[in-house]
């Protein structure tokens, strides 16, 4: 077991050094860090109450929630009670998110955190809340607009790079020739849009490669499946698909398997079905974000913000979390690490 873990860690380190961006800035030995401990900061209060809202009810944010729960548990061990709400709509909606935030602003929350559904819509709302005296932070994979007054962000700070690295892997696999379609998640969701932006930019570097289509699945596997079927029907010479969120690669892989086509799929995140498709060679590579650490660090930063601390020595304005590209040979270990499953 230990040997396997060390092997995986070395493998991931090597892959990260080759393609990584976060690796230059953070030290890690795994795609996900479950063994986290609170830093040395001493909270000023013994009870904090937070409100968090995110894009959509989805397993990806359940993974983030586990990091939040672990941090809450560790604070409790230190005698600090943290209560929180962790809410999302069943469908991504910036309007719904804005309503939730405004309602939360009326509550007795020490900090309001948001995974921005649409930076154009939500950033002004956050500014509004800040002006009303609320302490607001962003977290997860989507930050607000760069001029937003929110206090800090914890999460993926390199979505463009993630999209670019995934696409680079795809281009290399296709020997820098071919037609590529891009699946995106929610329209306006910064993380999804940024990854798509990184994908377009990468493909644009190669003269023999072309983006033939772009579609949004609204974070729905079923939509991703249908959209991919349309791609496959429309583009007989389709060579690859770049998937920018967690639902994209699952739906895309289902459609490609069904059609029996030889299409290279690269995508994001750690959905179990996607990992199994990676193991089975249907998906070429996946970018796995450290959701657990996102959740864990979100609570740590929220406590400090609640205590009136500002970004600086205690925490950065943007806490970066890692994304690691994993390939077929890593899939078994990732399935074991994330889901405790070995087929």
């Amino acid at each position: 077991m230990k040997v396997k873990a060390i092997f995986l860690a070395l493998l991931l380190c090597v892959s990260h050094c080759m393609y990584g961006y976060a690796a230059e800035e953070t030290e890690h030995d795994s795609a996900v860090h479950f063994e986290r401990e609170l830093d040395s900061y001493k909270p000023l209060k013994n009870h904090y109450n937070f409100y968090f809202t995110y894009k959509i009810v989805h397993p990806w944010w359940d993974a983030v929630a586990l990091g939040i729960e672990e941090a809450q548990r560790q604070f409790l061990e230190h005698g600090v009670i943290i209560t929180y709400e962790y809410m999302a709509p069943p469908k991504t909606s910036a309007i719904d998110q804005a309503e939730r935030l405004r309602k939360a602003a009326e509550g007795a929350y020490d900090v309001i955190g948001v995974d921005v559904a649409d930076e154009a819509v939500i950033s002004p709302v956050l500014d509004e809340l800040m002006e009303k005296g609320n302490k607001v932070m962003t977290f997860s994979s989507s930050d607000a607009a760069s001029d937003c007054k929110r206090i800090a962000y914890v999460g993926n700070t390199h979505n463009v790079e993630d999209g670019a690295q995934l696409t680079e892997a795809l281009c290399r696999k296709l020997n820098y020739k071919g037609n590529v379609a891009i699946l995106v998640g929610a329209e306006g969701a910064p993380c999804h849009e940024e990854r798509a932006q990184g994908a377009r930019k990468t493909i644009g570097k190669y003269s023999d490669m072309k983006v033939v289509d772009v579609a949004y699945d609204q974070d729905s596997i079923e939509n991703a499946y249908e959209l991919t079927k349309e791609f496959l029907a429309r583009y007989k010479d389709l060579d690859g698909i770049v998937c920018c969120n967690m639902s994209n690669p699952v739906g895309a892989a289902r459609a490609v398997k069904e059609a029996g086509r030889d299409v290279v799929i690269v995508g994001m995140d750690h959905d179990r079905e996607a990992l199994e498709d990676l193991r089975d060679g249907i998906i070429y590579c996946l970018g796995v974000q450290d959701c657990f650490s996102i959740g864990f660090d979100t609570i740590q930063v929220a406590v400090k913000i609640a205590d009136g601390q500002l970004p600086g020595e205690l925490f950065p304005e943007k806490t970066q979390e890692e994304t690691t590209l994993i390939y077929q040979e890593d899939a078994e270990d990732m399935l074991r690490i994330l889901y405790g499953v070995v087929q």
């Binding site: 479950f34 944010w61 939040i68 929180y84 962790y86 069943p90 405790g340 499953v341």
Partner: protein, 515 residues
Amino acid sequence: MGWYSDMKRSIQLTAVIGAVIISILVTVMSMRMIRGAASSTDKAVAKVSEFYLKELADRRTQVIASLIDSKTDQMQRAMQVISKQDLESVDSLRAFIGRTELLYELDLFALVDQDDIVYSRYSTYMGGSRYDFLADDMADNRTAISTVYLYGGSKHICIAIPLSGISFQGKKLQVCFVEIDFKKLADDLAFGVENAETWFGLYQGNGENLISMDFGPFDADQNLLTATKDMLSEDEWNALNDHFQNGIQGETVLGHQSARDTLYYVPVRDTGWMMTVLISGNLIQDQIRGISDELLRQSTQYFVLIGLALVVYFLLLFLELHRQSSRLLMQEKKTSREYSERALKSESELGRYKGIAYKDPLTGVQSKHAYMEKAKILDQAIADGDLSALAILVGDLNGLKHINDTIGHAAGDQYLKDGAMMLCRLFQHSPVYRTGGDEFIVILQNADYENRFPLLEQLNQMVEENISTEGVVISAGMAELTPEDDYVEDVFKRADHLMYVRKQQLKEMGARMRT
């Protein structure tokens, strides 16, 4: 001596064959018993293993079932006492949940509203994508037990019961549940290793390990069904798969490396989980085999002792038989000798008695009884056609009664002796019989038959001469066997008739009585 040797050899051979047969029987029975003992041991191991494993699995299964029942009961009791005050705000609801967790020592107790919002002691969160059971229809008011796979590999048990008639913040509370980490459950129930050779596990129907603990040779993260594929035949593995997927208890033997372990599995009620017990094939087998070997060793000793006893017994039996047969044979020999002696003696006496019976004591010629015996033999020869040359001479002494009456019986006896002597001297090759007081018969065969007429003529001449000298006068008649005769009696009758004719002639010739 030859008969005695044969008898002795037969007895010895019988004893040896008997000993060999019984020895073979004892040996065969011993071998069968040893083989039977090994087979019985294997059966016993299987039975004991099954019983032992079933008992172990059932016990823990019951503990889990009791735990589920207990948690269900606790949740029901908690929801019976929830008050309006508890439902006034998120804080009051969390306080209620916290009290319930403390009261029943629950890791996580939560309520879920109609929008799948989960209210726990410290948080409120969306449960739709985390808890599969929220997607299930719980309208049948049954306890739902499900497995929650958490990011990071841990697995939890969720025991949920439906709620009715309780609302919070204008929304109906539809479910409450407790969540238990399988690892904690496994620790509480002492899963994993019972001893060095017994392991407990809890698996999903698809073979996934629920308790993240090693299960015998299987790593904690191994799928049991996948891992056992190479340890079973295709049919056995398919059966195991079928049992796991359909919640059927069973047992199978896994072969890995040099060991053969017994896997017993029993479904946990209403959960879709399979309680598994793995026991090293050698554990029970070794213990039972030890007992069996000891019994076998003792049995072998018994058989050896019985064999030795039989050898001694047959040796003694052989010696005794030999002794008895020798004694018997000696006795038989003695008895036989005595019998022979007695027989010889009897034969001698019989001969003597026979001689007495066949001999006329007065004259010394053969008696009437001897004549009758001889006549039977001759009759048989006539009947058989073996006799053709035979003549009968019937002689009657004249004047015997007169001598007895006048001179005395002594003179009469002497007269009879003289008459017998005359016939014997004349017919030297023929038997002479005295068949009545003064009646004689001579059976002429061979040379006397050939000379019958001269001999008769000579007799008659001598008789006629004796008339004048008052010597022995015998009236004689002779007849020959003819083809018409069936018996000697037929010849006798003709001779007797001729004797009377002659008697008349002699009387006319003046035959007198001797004075």
